[in-house]
């Protein structure tokens, strides 16, 4: 039992779980594209990644765990193939998830966090999120198969039918209202309002947590300068969400579920929403304890736990570590490597437009392509920065204290 708990604790460390989640996410989308049949070359690529992880795991225990978990999940998924979207398999997944959660509730440390009235909705959110994602992908999968076989989407066949407002719409709405009211009442009786102590400016709680919907932002503060994580990125998230209808003009998939007809749009959105945003919220809720340190789900939130603060800037990495010389006095020389990298990153869209993404460029037109690409790049800067932090303890790529500008 302790071994399993320890295994899960290690796996849930942000760097490990993020890699695992990204890989599984990619894999699921991948075989959704190809009807659950692995092409041999890609199959070997996925297998090869697992073997690399295992080998690396010989030197670092967490990577070994990651490799094992990765291969296990891949094995299951590859065997399931398209059956992943069967109702029965979905039910089993739900049962497994609920059983795992229920068993975990027996652990006092897990119970303490998960059963906290503040966190109950987020625990429920994990299941709801999983269910609805599964449902959407299942419908898309079925439609895609139907279209491939020369049929029409299921929604199309349905939309020709007519129904009465009463009882088919209003009655069911009424029932939903009643049932939801029941749930709310039982919830509010069963769990007390999570009130805390009187506000005190001289004593902040530890850990000091934002409301759950902001925990993704708070988690981003770990990796980014406050003005980026707190001001620029949230603004861009809102702006980007508003811009989606103007960037995504693909008429296909309108009114019906389909993955293959909109694989990039859905892939990017789901990655941003599930792997980045929701993952950060879940991490921030369940896995960040006192001093914003990372704690596994079965770990005791010991306020004495210390994590070393050994992050370095890119300038230090380049000048001091690689070139063995002191930092240049002038900031634009000192930060030159970082600035060049950032410029290169920003220059990617035109470069790609000329090369591999020419197809998109032509299809979308210049304004849409550039706005979309910039938003995508900024979104991807988060996982990139996270991976850089885990791999190199990188603090800032560009760190100009002189004008308080950090990236």
């Amino acid at each position: 039992m302790d071994f399993i708990k320890n295994f899960v604790n290690v796996l849930s460390v942000a760097s490990i779980s993020f890699v695992l989640l990204s890989a599984i996410f990619g894999f699921i989308l991948y075989f959704n594209l190809f009807d659950g049949k692995l092409k041999s070359k890609s199959g070997y690529a996925f297998l090869g990644f697992g073997i690399v992880l295992i080998l690396a795991g010989l030197f670092a225990r967490p990577l070994l765990y990651l490799g094992i978990a990765y291969l296990l999940i891949m094995f299951v998924l590859a065997n399931l193939g398209g059956r992943l979207w069967d109702k029965k398999v979905g039910l089993w997944l739900l049962i497994f998830g609920a059983a795992g959660f229920g068993l975990s509730m027996l652990d006092p440390n897990f119970n303490l966090i998960a059963a906290k009235p503040d966190n109950v909705p987020i625990a429920a959110m994990i299941f709801l999120l999983g269910f609805f994602t599964w449902l959407a992908l299942r419908k898309a999968y079925l439609n895609d198969k139907q279209i491939e076989a020369g049929g029409i989407p299921w929604e199309k066949t349905e939309s020709d039918e007519k129904l009465f407002t009463w009882p088919d719409l209003v009655y069911t709405e009424l029932l939903c209202m009643i049932l939801l009211t029941i749930v709310m009442i039982v919830w509010s009786i069963g769990l007390r309002a999570p009130l805390e102590e009187a506000a005190n400016p001289t004593s902040s709680p530890n850990p000091a947590k934002a409301p759950w919907y902001f925990l993704g932002l708070q988690e981003m503060l770990v990796y980014f300068d406050p003005w980026l994580a707190g001001v620029v990125l949230p603004t861009l998230i809102i702006v980007g969400l508003m811009a989606i209808p103007y960037i995504d003009t693909n008429p296909r998939g309108n009114g019906y579920y389909s993955f293959r007809e909109r694989k990039w749009e859905i892939g990017i959105f789901l990655y941003g929403f599930l792997v980045l945003w929701s993952f950060l919220i879940i991490t921030g809720t369940f896995l960040r304890g006192p001093n914003w340190n990372f704690y596994g789900p079965y770990e005791y939130w010991d306020p004495n736990k210390l994590e070393p603060l050994v992050n370095i800037n890119l300038s230090e990495l380049v000048w001091v570590k690689l070139m063995a010389m002191p930092l240049p006095k002038l900031w634009f020389i000192r930060e030159a490597p970082g600035l060049i990298l950032v410029l290169l990153y920003v220059a990617l869209p035109p470069l790609l437009a000329a090369g591999p993404f020419r197809r998109f460029y032509l299809k979308m037109g210049a304004p849409r392509y550039y706005v979309g690409a910039m938003l995508f790049l900024i979104m991807m800067s988060l996982p990139i920065k996270m991976v850089l932090r885990w791999l190199f303890n990188l603090k800032y790529i560009v760190n100009i204290q002189e004008i308080f500008f950090n990236i």
Binding site: L175, I178, I182, I185, I189, E196, E197, A198
Partner: protein, 1104 residues
């Protein structure tokens, strides 16, 4: 038109209907659930439970009242009633006629009365019309005047008629009453008999669950006028600090603690205490007549309580209602509430939310259990399973049971003693005595401006040897089990069972090196005067002197005690706090030498001008004898304990650790190379003294300006629990392998910290110098508990000045004096403010006890007290006394502070001029006669003597020892003497002075032994003859003789007349004998100390 095809439904209607039906029912049920959840509250359960208890109690009383005798009486009355009714029935026609007559008269009376009242109303209206007509000079005013006069006349007539009718009606009524009165008389008798039962029945109705109860408290109806309701006290001048604003307290504790201000629900122990207290007062006739009956009834009630099953909380009465909660107490509930002392969440009405704190792990486990998770209700009254959960967000959880008195400090920390018998008084005295405030700054009046608790170390080389000092510092408790010096070295985090063997060996080397270095520093910085003398004494005589003159009021001279037939090592708690003031005399001979002891006991100020030890004015011979005795007090084996030599590598390593804080490693190495081992030791010693804070308690040269090293404790009780680092400690394993579960609350953290200061280092890997260094005082659990109470009582919560204790100028004066009393340990010998006199158990004969100073301010005149305190040799009041009042060498300022304190505490003016009053000759003459009649001369002498050197009375006749009354006039206050003669036992319980004027059991007034016929007795014939001329007649003589107050006043005047009026004043400070030969500081002795190689190590100090 084509007929429309039937459109199919998405879902079958029947299924939707079924779902709708079910979900609607469920919704109804959960809505009912809302009402139920809102209705069922823990406090209601407690109120019902309390009603049940009351009901049972009343029913029992009813059964007792409604006994066979009462029933028989009632039956007899009923029978009589029946007989009378039969009689009346026989004369029924008469009664009916009379009744009819009365009815008619009543009707007439009603009409007449109405006529009269209406006419009066008309008259009043007419009066206004008349007045306004006069003011307006209206033409109709004459007309109005006439009408008014007519109406007045009419009212007068109607009044007469009403009186007439009333008389006639009364007559008619009397005629009826002749008949009915016969029955009514029986009825009245019956009512009288059942009055108590009726009262109980009414009470029973109000506490039983009857129809009214269920209707008034029904869900949804209970907003109208429920009998079960939240009770609260609103305290507009006691605030809770909510950080941004202050909110008045609203204490709702009474909602469940129903009987908290109601006597009759005491615990058995409290009831027992109250009974004893009341019985004592009853025996002493200290009640007036009506109060006496009340007190007797209360005793009876409390005794009934003892026979019933024990009442448990929350239904107990608050203990000491005369001090707390009671409306006549200093802390009435309506003014102080509950949470201002107990803390907790004032507005909460639920067990956990109110902030109840368990006293122990066991209690915590019991509280946590529950029978119904949603509603924290206990299953039954005694199981105490409350579904409790800690509320981590409550900043002021209640003090747990064992620390209740911590709450006193919030308002009383500007007092030395809240009340002599209170725990908190002992606890603060303990903190003061053990010197917690020396290392931990406590910024409040009680713990400021106190002297250092340890002796000066500036002259340590004169007193003892490095070899002793090493062994002492290494393990002080091995030398004296009761010492207040804590153990700094070889603690739990250094050599404890959890420390790995390798680290343990290293730690021992470091610790050895530090002790060596501290000894080296102290001895190299010590002055080195040579003390001589003290030879040729006799130890046996010395022991007798030590036991006789009062040394044992402050010192203990044994290290073993026998408790329950078992002999064991003594603990500090085996002796009163006052006797721990000085060091335990055991081992003095091992520690120091005759010359030093001799000069120290002769006058401690010679060695240390700030020594707390007073001068007992021993003669040279006495001092020599005491010296011989103290030298004979050896601690065998202590000096033969091996001392490991200082490990040069360890010394160098530690010294380097300090040096590299300020210089580079190479410079540090170079500097160390330039020093030899001794110099390194002295350097390291300085650093180690700094590290351990030795200077906080001891004066040490070179550390005069350093701040105390400990955490400031000023608001320790307000710190949030998460600021207390429990480390990895959940279970506590003492050195004797005793296991305990440690709950994570602030009181528990502090308790375990003071009991085992290094415990939170368990399982931690820290660099040597970062390890916890608070020393181990080897506190008993009781001591640790008291000290914890003080620490958690130090909070940042503030109350209005109006509610603080001791805020006026007179009380501040008293408190300054009390602090000095505490600092000089006056309570070692004296009772002050009603408590103290630690020496009492050592003195068998009460004649030889030092006096009780509780009434001192009322008793003595300020000038006399001043001189006596400065120099106790100015007067020997009781020349037979063995215990000597020492010379404290008080400064004038200190002496005045004490004099002011005593005067203020006695509610007496600082000065009075009565000393110069000469009483009238008649009063003196009467007084002299009364003095003779009361045979005062049996004990008291009246011959003038030299106050400083009175003749010794016959000590063998212990019943006749009393002060010479001729010393009264210069010493005693004029108005005090008479009062004292009347009630000596009330002022000083157990005094030898007999109570000649006992209080009357009837009235509580003083009675005279010469009153009534006593004066006619044959023994008083001569006195009576002498007295008669002094009175106008015999009646006046008799009256005076039975007047206790007058007699005592005459006695006082007599005593005043024989008093001497002059006495010697305090001499200026007599210079101490010159025996000090200052010499240049001695070079430190060669360290490391002499030991054999590979000698067995100093074992880890044996724990208690």
């Amino acid at each position: 038109m084509k007929p429309q095809e039937p459109i199919p439904h998405n879902y079958p209607m029947s299924r939707l209907n079924a779902i709708f039906a079910i979900s609607a029912l469920v919704l109804l049920a959960v809505t009912g659930g809302i009402v139920f959840y809102d209705y069922v509250r823990g406090w209601k359960w407690f109120q019902m439970e309390f009603m049940r208890i009351q009901q049972e109690r009343i029913e029992q009383e009813l059964r007792e009242k409604n006994d066979a005798e009462t029933r028989a009486k009632l039956a007899a009355l009923d029978k009589e009633m029946k007989e009378r009714q039969v009689q009346i029935a026989r004369h029924r026609s008469d009664l009916v006629a009379a009744q009819k007559d009365l009815d008619r008269e009543e009707g007439r009376h009603y009409a007449a009365d109405q006529d009269y009242r209406f006419a009066k109303a008309l008259l009043d209206a007419k009066r206004y019309e008349l007045e306004s007509a006069i003011v307006k000079k209206s033409s109709s005013r004459k007309q109005k005047q006439r009408e008014f006069d007519e109406l007045s006349q009419r009212v007068e007539n109607l009044n007469l008629r009403l009186q007439q009718v009333t008389r006639e009606r009364d007559a008619a009524r009397e005629r009826v009453d002749v008949w009915l009165g016969r029955i009514k008389e029986v009825e009245d008798r019956r009512k009288e008999l059942t009055a108590e039962i009726d009262l109980l029945n009414r009470q029973l109705f109000s506490v039983s669950r009857n129809r009214d109860f269920f209707i008034l408290n029904a869900p949804m109806l209970d907003f109208v006028n429920p009998t079960m309701r939240v009770e609260q006290v609103v305290l507009n001048d006691l605030f809770i600090d909510m950080n941004y604003m202050s909110v008045p307290r609203v204490d709702r504790c009474q909602t469940c603690h129903r009987a908290i201000d109601r006597p009759g629900f005491e615990s058995k122990a409290e009831a027992q205490r109250l009974i004893e207290d009341l019985r004592f007062k009853l025996d002493k006739n200290q009640f007036t007549k009506d109060k006496r009956a009340e007190a007797e009834e209360r005793v009876a009630e409390l005794e009934r309580l003892l026979a019933r099953p024990e009442i448990l909380n929350p239904f107990r009465t608050h203990p000491k209602l005369d001090t707390f909660v009671g409306s006549a107490s200093p802390h009435p509930m309506l003014d102080y509430g509950c949470t201002v002392c107990h803390r907790g969440q004032d507005r909460a009405t639920e067990f956990s939310r109110a902030g109840h704190t368990p006293a122990s792990g066991r209690m915590e486990r019991r509280w946590k259990k529950t029978w119904f998770p949603f509603f924290p209700l206990p299953k039954d009254y005694t199981s105490r399973n409350y579904g409790w959960a800690a509320n981590p967000f409550l900043e002021t959880p209640m003090y747990p049971r064992q620390h209740y008195e911590a709450g006193c400090l919030k308002c009383h920390s500007n007092q030395v003693a809240v009340n002599g018998s209170d725990e908190i008084t002992r606890a603060t005295a303990m903190v003061e005595l053990y010197g917690c405030h020396s290392c931990h700054k406590i910024n409040n009046w009680r713990f400021s401006d106190l002297q250092k608790v340890g002796p000066t170390l500036d002259g340590i080389a004169e007193k003892t040897t490095p070899e002793w000092a090493f062994r002492w510092i290494a393990n002080p408790h091995a030398f004296r089990s009761t010492t207040r010096m804590p153990a700094f070295f070889y603690g739990r985090n250094m050599v404890g069972p959890g420390v790995p063997a390798e680290e343990r060996a290293q730690n021992i080397r470091f610790q050895d090196a530090e002790i060596h270095s501290i000894v080296a520093y102290l001895f190299s910085n010590s002055s080195n005067r040579q003390w001589q003398g003290g030879t040729g004494g006799d130890a046996t005589r010395g022991k007798e002197i030590v036991e006789r003159v009062g040394c044992l009021a402050c010192h203990v001279d044994t290290e073993t005690v026998t408790v329950d037939g078992k002999t064991r090592k003594a603990l500090r708690t085996d002796f009163p706090l006052e006797r721990n003031f000085g060091f335990n005399l055991v081992g003095t001979g091992t520690k120091t030498h005759a010359g030093w002891i001799y000069n120290w006991v002769k006058n401690p100020k010679n060695y240390d001008p700030h020594a707390p030890m007073p001068d007992l004015r021993l003669t040279d011979q006495e001092a020599s004898d005491v010296t011989a005795y103290l030298v004979s007090l050896q601690k065998p084996g202590f000096m033969s304990q091996p001392i490991r030599p200082a490990n040069p590598a360890a010394v160098r390593g530690l010294a380097k650790g300090y040096l590299i804080n300020t210089m580079s490693t190479r410079d540090a190495e170079a500097k160390l190379d330039s020093m030899n081992l001794d110099e390194q030791l002295v350097y390291l010693g300085q650093r180690s003294i700094e590290k351990y804070g030795c200077y906080s308690c001891h004066d040490i040269k070179g550390f005069e300006s350093l701040k105390p090293i400990g955490t400031e404790l000023t608001i320790e009780g307000s710190k949030n629990p998460h600021l207390f680092d429990f480390g990895f400690v959940h279970d506590y394993e003492a050195w004797d392998h005793k296991h305990e579960h440690i709950i994570h609350t602030v009181p528990s953290w502090i308790y375990n910290k003071v009991r085992e200061p290094r415990i939170y280092d368990d399982a931690r890997t820290k660099p040597y110098n970062d390890k916890l260094k608070m020393p181990n005082f080897h506190l008993t659990p009781e001591e640790a508990r008291l000290i914890t109470s003080v620490v958690i009582g130090l909070t940042k919560e503030r109350v209005n000045d109006s509610k603080l204790a001791s805020m006026d100028a007179r009380e501040r004066l008293m408190e300054e004096g009390r602090k000095l009393v505490s600092q000089r340990n006056c309570r070692g010998c004296h009772v002050v403010d009603g408590y103290g006199r630690a020496i009492a158990p050592l003195i068998a004969d009460t004649n030889f006890l030092p006096p009780d100073l509780s009434p001192q301010g009322r008793r003595t005149q300020s000038p006399w007290l001043f001189h006596f305190l400065k120099d106790p040799t100015v007067m020997k009041i009781r020349p037979w006394m063995n215990v000597r009042m020492p010379t404290f060498h008080f400064t004038d300022e200190e002496t005045n502070r004490l004099v002011e304190y005593f005067a203020a505490a006695g509610q007496s003016p600082l000065f009075d001029m009565t000393r110069f009053n000469d009483p009238p000759a008649r009063n003196v003459a009467i007084g002299r006669e009364v003095y003779t009649m009361l045979r005062c001369a049996q004990c008291h002498l009246t011959t003038p003597v030299d106050p400083a050197n009175p003749p010794m009375p016959n000590v063998a006749d212990t019943t006749s020892l009393a002060p010479n009354l001729s010393l009264g006039r210069v010493r005693l206050r004029h108005d005090w003497i008479a009062d004292w003669i009347r009630r000596p036992d009330e002022m000083i319980p157990g005094t030898r002075m007999p109570t000649n004027f006992p209080r009357s059991a009837e009235t509580g007034e003083f009675t005279s032994p010469l009153g009534g016929a006593a004066i006619d007795g044959p023994g008083f014939a001569a006195s009576k003859a002498r007295l008669l001329p002094l009175f106008q007649n015999e009646e006046e003589l008799r009256k005076t003789m039975s007047d206790a107050v007058a007699l005592t006043n005459y006695l006082r005047d007599y005593i005043w007349s024989i008093g001497i009026t002059n006495m010697r004043e305090a001499r200026p400070e007599a210079d101490a004998p010159v025996m000090t030969v200052p010499q240049p500081p001695r070079t430190p002795p060669p360290t490391p100390l002499q030991t054999g190689e590979g000698a067995p190590s100093v074992s880890a100090p044996a724990m208690r």
